[in-house]
Amino acid sequence: MPGRGSGKTRCALVDKGLHAFERVGVHHVAGHGLQGVFIGGFHAVLYLPVEQALAHGDRDGDNYRPYQVRNYYGGDHYYGDRDDRRYRGNRGYRGYRGDDGREYRGEYRGDRRYYGHSRGQGYGRSYGDVCLNPDGNLWHTTGLNKLIAFDETTGRLVCEAGVLLRDIQRLFVPRGWMLPVTPGTQLITVGGAIANDVHGKNHHAVGSFGDHVLGLTLARTSGEVLQLDWTSAPAMMSATVGGMGLTGVVVTAELQLRRVSSPWLRTETLPYQGLSEFFELADASEHDWEHTVSWIDCLAGQTARGIFMRANHMTAQETANMPSLKAALTVQQRKMQAKPLSMPFVPPISLVNGLSLKPFNMAYYQLQKMKSGFDVAHYEPFSYPLDNLQHWNRMYGPRGFYQYQSVVPREVGQPAVQAMLDAIAASGEGSFLAVLKTFGNREAKGMLSFPQPGVTLALDFPNRGERTLKLLDRLDAIVREAKGRLYMAKDARMSRDLFEAGYPRLSEFTAHRDAGISSAMSRRLMEF
């Protein structure tokens, strides 16, 4: 297929995506007779794994279920976890706040105002309520799992939005190409990565996911199907990248992959004491290291200790110089084929608690410290350590946990992070997976993108009810004072004014929203 995806044939490629979409639209109508389930004119989206539980009949009956998800082909681990208590508990999602200011905690039955509103969802891996739509419809996009075209010379990939990042990585890394940006899990869809404008350990070097999206097809509930790219529709692109799925459903996307000549990374692990040391390391690594990240023991208070990890992709030459890597790759490939471990059940109480956290963190620190120095790691275990433990969230018990990720500007970074660590230490709550990283000095392309120049701290707190919420409110105050913002992909509880303060381009964004789409998050934080 010569020429596919090269600059000149770009339009043709996008057309192809559109056709793929239309075709299946027709199929689904014919095959399953789902017409009339949705808002008029949105036939195309009928193809998507459309949720129709609320459509007819059942609505007022005893069989009423708050919301049901239909997914399409392709594995989805979350089906069945989605609308029951386990789900909410597992993901730390405890309800949503209605327009009337009332908190709808685990109770979706009463308010049907949002009936008919819908939203798209990929793999459902966001921590908060961004991918939920109680009382409404949910369109699963995991059925949109086809690749459309790839150009081996330019590295441009056109694919449907439900393709998993893992599938792209595993297919293209052996062929010398890789996604430039992936977050800490590769079990998410391309559409989800765009909607949340996800970032990775190499943000300072390459930016966020949206920086590598060349164009996309967006289906709107008005029935329009828009072909977008940065030159013809910069505003709509900018609203859709990081737009939480609120501007329409991303159907296909064209991505720029980057060259890699080896699946291996050369890594260095450095223990540090205190935040100043962290910032020194981060600054020293900014130019010479593509991936940087650090784990911080947030229970240690003033003397915050942590582990700084940095890595670079190895060149073909470097890989060839280490013949032992050949055998190691076979072992790694076998691991990738094997079934990952799974947390088989939800324990009655959180396994991450006051008793376990201190020894956990101490052991983790000591283990990592022993590994300090140079090493070589395959990109999968280095970048996505938790993908090897399915349902790890279940460790937090039936009440689940809250993720809390903030970014604060660099000028106030050190005192603000220190203040947050102090507040956590003072509260007696703790986080096992505390991640501290500096973002690069660049603005993200999306109007509601999370990354901004500064330092970001990500925390996981077991949900202990009011105590946890109080701590999060204190952290909110620190973030607000530092003129920072919270990551929406992980949020389930921030207040409207913190959201508005953190995202000044909100009003610009609102103009581009799809009037037929809302989510638990959008109704909590925006007008609808």
Binding site: M1, P49, A53, Q68, Y73, G74, A149
Partner: protein, 252 residues
């Protein structure tokens, strides 16, 4: 170059088998010839494009045909075998017909029986002749656990699949002393577009990736009967041997 033909290539199971085949070919640095046969050209083309991206070195061709007309089936098979000798044919098409509709409407019942029962048998029969002549090849047909014992909730679909089972059994008997293998695949409920209505009702289903893996392995080994996931062999053994007075009390 190995030549694999897939009848009903837009079926999710078949598509995932095709992905595994091109992946294996890419890993072994060999090339593969794939002929995808579907009803709808655009949809089949979409599957073909996906496979071409996954495996640029493979030769992926698309053909469309009418699946319930015996003479077009014969013509299609002639056209395919004229291009290159066939190593494997996977017959995968099917429609999960609604039982109550089939009870109410004889036309719907006829369509369900044609598409799920008669059509796969005709395709298999048409491919057998050249394979027997070459004394080489594998014919894999997707049946169903529903074909093992008739149940009130889907016996029309089950009867069609039962026809496929009995046919495959006879062919295996006929071809026992040749190099042509017949593989009958009996998947349990699998998470595909065909079963999306069952899924909405909350039925637990196997992942299509897992089922495809079992199918590809079963075909490679030339197993006469492949239950996938394997647990269904035990379940159906029990179901088939339930005495009628117990069976009739079950709401399945």
């Amino acid at each position: 170059m190995q030549h694999i033909v897939i009848i009903g290539a837009t079926s999710a199971m078949a598509e995932h088998c095709a992905r595994l085949w091109v992946q294996a070919a890419a890993a072994a640095s060999t090339s593969l010839r794939l002929t995808l046969v579907g009803r709808d050209e655009a949809r089949t083309q979409r599957v073909a494009d996906d496979l071409r991206v996954r495996s640029p070195q493979s030769n992926v061709q698309v053909m469309t045909t009418d699946f319930v007309n015996a003479s077009t089936i014969q013509q299609t098979v002639n056209a395919i075998t004229a291009q290159a000798p066939v190593d494997i044919v996977l017959i995968a098409h099917g429609v999960l017909s609604d039982q109550t509709t089939c009870q109410d409407d004889v036309m719907a019942c006829d369509a369900a029986l044609q598409v799920n029962g008669v059509s796969p048998v005709l395709f298999a029969e048409a491919f057998t002749k050249p394979m027997v002549a070459a004394n080489h090849g594998t014919i894999a047909i997707i049946g169903s656990v529903a074909g093992d014992r008739g149940r009130k909730t889907n016996y029309v679909y089950g009867a069609a699949k039962g026809l496929v089972s009995r046919y495959a059994q006879g062919m295996q008997h006929r071809l026992a002393h040749t190099n042509v293998k017949v593989v009958l695949i009996k998947p349990g409920p699998t998470d595909t577009p065909m079963t999306s209505d069952l899924k909405a009702k909350g039925q637990k289903m196997a992942s299509v990736e897992q089922v495809a893996q079992d199918i590809v392995k079963g075909i490679a080994a030339g197993k006469p009967v492949v239950y996938t996931p394997g647990i269904w062999q035990i379940i159906m053994l029990v179901v088939m041997h339930l005495p009628r007075f117990v069976f009739n009390k079950l709401n399945i």
